[in-house]
Amino acid sequence: MDKHFYADLYRTMYRIRTFEKKIEEFSLKGEIPGFVHLYIGEEAIATGVCANLTHQDYIQSTHRGHGHTIAKGAQTDRMMAELFGKKTGYCKGKGGSMHIADFSVGMLGANGIVGGGYTLATGAALAEKIKKTQNVSVVFFGDGASNRGTFHEALNMAAAWKLPVVFVCENNEWASTTPYQTTTSVKDISVRAKGYDVPGVIVDGNNVLEVYEVSKEAIDRARKGQGPSIVEMKTLRIKGHYVGDPEMYRTAEEVQKRFRENDPITRFEATLLENELLSRKEIDGIIREIDEEIEAAVKFALESPFPDESELYDDLYID
């Protein structure tokens, strides 16, 4: 792997973190309307998985979808504008945080319905199989979403037909405000793969290089027509379920302690420096570049107009 590979991974992770911090700030100030779910602490997953994908491949995201969208290649200025409800946003202000999408890069949408993405990703994979391409589709889902019936229906269909779709579980331990272990029959979601006769593997979801390597195997397998797999990324949700969540169900100390010890960005930075993959100077250069990019994205969003009332019926029907 060359320098660019590592620099790109770092850039994407830092871009997601910086974007999310800005979103949190403006959301708390009340300037970003609606419900917002942050991806802070889980950046390595979207980054490592999407590094294996082209724009012809698809992803289906979740309600916590900013990270996936950025990692798939969307522009942060148009994302920021969408979250502010502006006309210049990806969805012209009709979607917001929970319905962010960029079809031009194969990002088929965040989904406000937990577990809503599996069947859609499976269908996109079916289409690619019918078209006889090598493209794959990836569906991100949480530990909580693995208890939806859609998980079963989609995984069975994908496995029965050997469809090119990869099921990436982001096990961040929290199903909204409930610890997943209190409502879930298994500790490791990936063991559910056995019921469908597909591979199920566990990955340290805060180690971007491990995420990249293991998801590569699953994605390559899908590309070769060998069918779906479950890749379970162990991670931790650092922020509340949504911005403004009082988090009465856990202590901040416990979360912060684990974050300090296991921040995916700090860890990757240490790996990069230790193995001389990137220099301090190079890392600082990326940080400066992204800080400027996100500032510019905020400026773009703030200066953009809101949609006009006359746009209410736009894009409802085509014919």
Partner: protein, 325 residues
């Protein structure tokens, strides 16, 4: 003109469209090997192979969800629901995904898919295999709902639905499958979506109906004609969003309105048609609006009870007579 059945008409529509456009494929339960439980897919795998006529697992949620996903990836899927009643299993995919995706993503994509949903009473199918559920979807912006009442429209409407870039639910009444009627052999037989048809012109009263109940509406018009009433019968064809203009124009001419459908009367589409007419043309009415629909019970099993549940021609006839007293 040659006569074919409603079922054969839909089969011709599928064949012609699938030959024309290879992004069209069909998925559903028991459609490839069995040809559909009503024979409406018979022979299609011989022409198009099992890559395009796909037998699915019994997973209605995954059928609709994956059809949506395939549409996002550039295909034009047709998803068969076996029985319309089974759409209850798919409701998140229908109303939160299929109906919303284009709008909430700001027009970045389109969902050119058709859900074929066989509905209506059929010889003691009972509570879970006999319903007419079109009213559920009337309240959901972002989808279109259509229902043909005869073989010719069945063909033209299915072809138009497949060609449309909007997501469409195509209700096909099970009792109509074996009904024969004239169908043109012209390739471009298309029925315009969003437009109602005046099936029979008249001047004294308007009946608005659709699907299988059109048979009753036309029969009632014949009976009333002999009594001296000139009855206009409108076939809605597109149920949501429905053609308000054609209905209002007719009522302004006839000054009387009766709406008839096989679905349960309470909360049915008739209420919406009545409300629109009340809002737009109440001053033109010379009599109260009457709705004819099924009783407010689940569909009962026993033939005698099923008959008691079913809306009938004489209810339309009696309703219209009462408008002139």
């Amino acid at each position: 003109m040659r006569e074919i059945t409603f079922s054969q008409a839909t089969l011709e529509a599928m064949k012609e469209e699938m030959q024309r456009d290879d992004t069209i494929f069909v998925m559903g339960e028991d459609i490839a090997r069995q040809g559909g439980i009503f024979g409406q897919f018979k022979g299609l795998p011989d022409d198009f192979g099992t890559d395009r006529i796909i037998d699915t697992p019994i997973s209605e949620t995954a059928i609709i969800g994956s059809a949506i996903g395939a549409a996002l990836a550039g295909m034009r899927p047709v998803a068969d629901m076996h029985f319309a009643d089974f759409m209850g299993i798919t409701m998140d995919e229908v109303f939160n995904q299929m109906a919303k995706i284009r709008y909430m993503f700001g027009g970045q994509t389109k969902i050119p898919m058709v859900i074929r949903a066989p509905d209506g009473l059929i010889r003691s199918g009972a509570a879970q295999h006999s319903q007419s559920i079109e009213a559920w979807f009337n309240n959901i912006p972002g989808i279109k709902v259509v229902a043909p009442s005869n073989p010719s429209d069945a063909k033209g409407l299915l072809k138009a639905a497949i060609r449309s870039d909007d997501p469409i639910i195509y209700f096909e009444n099970k009792d109509l499958y074996r009904q024969s009627g004239p169908v043109s052999e012209e390739e471009e037989l298309l029925v315009e979506i969003g437009k109602a048809k005046v099936a029979r012109a008249g001047t004294d009263v308007t009946i608005v109906s659709y699907s299988v109940m059109m048979n009753n509406a036309l029969e009632a018009a014949e009976i009333l004609e002999k009594e001296g009433y000139s009855v206009e019968v409108i076939d809605l064809i597109t149920l949501s969003p429905f053609d308000e203009k054609t209905v209002i124009e007719s009522v302004k001419k006839t000054h009387r309105l009766l709406i008839a459908h096989e679905a349960v009367k309470k909360g049915g589409l008739g209420g919406e048609v009545a409300a629109v007419v009340a809002e737009e043309a109440i001053d033109y009415l010379d009599a109260p609006i009457i709705r004819v629909g099924a009783k407010f019970t689940p569909v009962p099993f026993s033939p005698t009870l099923e008959e008691a549940y079913r809306p009938k021609t004489h209810e339309i006839v009696d309703g219209i007579r009462s408008m002139f007293i």
